[in-house]
Symmetry: C2
Subunit: 222 residues, 2 copies
């Protein structure tokens, strides 16, 4: 395996992140690349989900992945094993990515020939929700062990989500997690939010999310 | 039950948080109150652990709890059920507490008559590690479902930790979690860090943490 490409992304100099995010979205639209921003708490299963998604979609569309972390390259290494192009972004301690930091990643990854670029954001249920990365859609994972009350405590993350996955449903019997309540609370924050119960480890439910993603990519790239 | 006291803490005006944190520590030292700052990802079990700790210690020392969250008052409500004084701090979207925000909480809680004041920080493995709250010690929880690689990805949190609890050991059989590796990685960040495997739900291992805390409070308040 080639050495993992690690990019130290620099703090943005742009005062207006929303305008910069719109600009990045327009650039990606022009080159027909769909950018997905994947967010969750630490350890909710972002990388494990991505491996399942790549296994299902990599032969029907061209995909690249940017793995963001404070430190380490374990996630990029895991994605490269799937044969998909991937780079590791280091945020230098920062808790989120904004549009310009995402653009730095996009340039290093090289996205002109991609149908789908995926940004795995820093594991954090607070800050990443505050910064538009320039993505077309925001996907959020909440895992069963974290508890069904999280949409009450971290409102913005669930407001900005375009799709929500409830991961680790295989361990539902061992946790006091109420699926009806999490749906109720998530819809309190974002009425009509699509919610997919999944198990990223076994692949259960991942097909349904891939159907959602496939339709979104197709609509964007047409 | 009385209505839950909710404090909207305001962003700090102090440029030098470290100096302000030292000042708060000195104030707490003068009044013989030990301040513990409890940090973790969302859903790692901070409130559940606190309920176990309060059950064990509330009859031998005077304790008060500040529950910080972006929104909701579910945690303060849970603590009040134990009969211990508690207030809810709302951070107005902010991802952490600094020393001045902690001081606002301390004043509203009223700590002059307390041996131990506990701050449950915002669920976040990144930002809270960057701000000295004025606490005497930082306690960190990592739960089994989050994975043993977290000290690699979130280095600062494990560097600033004075004690680490590995929570939810009851579900170890259902997760690929390597206890030896998490100890190795955590000690890479902070050599000699005390580590207690616990199950906050059942109380397993909590006595050992309480012994650690009791000794720390005693040493500080003497």
């Amino acid at each position: 395996m080639d050495p993992i490409k690690i990019i130290e992304v620099k703090e943005s100099v742009f005062a207006d992140n929303n305008a910069d995010a719109d600009k990045l979205r327009a650039e990606m639209k022009a080159q027909k690349t769909f950018l997905l921003n994947l967010m969750s708490s630490p350890g909710s299963g972002k990388t494990t989900l991505l491996k399942q998604v790549l296994g299902r979609l990599k032969d029907e569309m061209r995909i690249g992945v940017m793995e963001a972390d404070i430190d380490s390259d374990v996630d990029a290494a895991a994605i490269l094993e799937t044969g998909v192009r991937a780079i590791q972004l280091h945020t230098g301690g920062m808790c989120h990515l904004d549009a310009d930091m995402t653009r730095q990643g996009v340039r290093e990854l090289g996205t002109e020939d991609l149908d789908l670029a995926i940004l795995e954001n820093v594991g954090n249920l607070v800050c990443p929700a505050e910064f538009d990365t320039g993505s077309v859609k925001n996907a959020v994972i909440l895992s069963v062990p974290e508890g069904h009350d999280k949409p009450l405590k971290y409102p913005l993350m669930f407001e900005v989500a375009d799709v929500l996955m409830i991961n680790k449903v295989d361990v539902l019997p061992y946790f006091d997690f109420d699926m009806d309540k999490v749906v109720e609370y998530a819809h309190m924050r974002h009425p009509g939010l699509p919610i997919f119960p999944i198990c990223a480890k076994t692949g259960e439910g991942v097909d349904a999310f891939c159907d959602w993603l496939r339709a979104e990519v197709k609509a964007w790239n047409e």
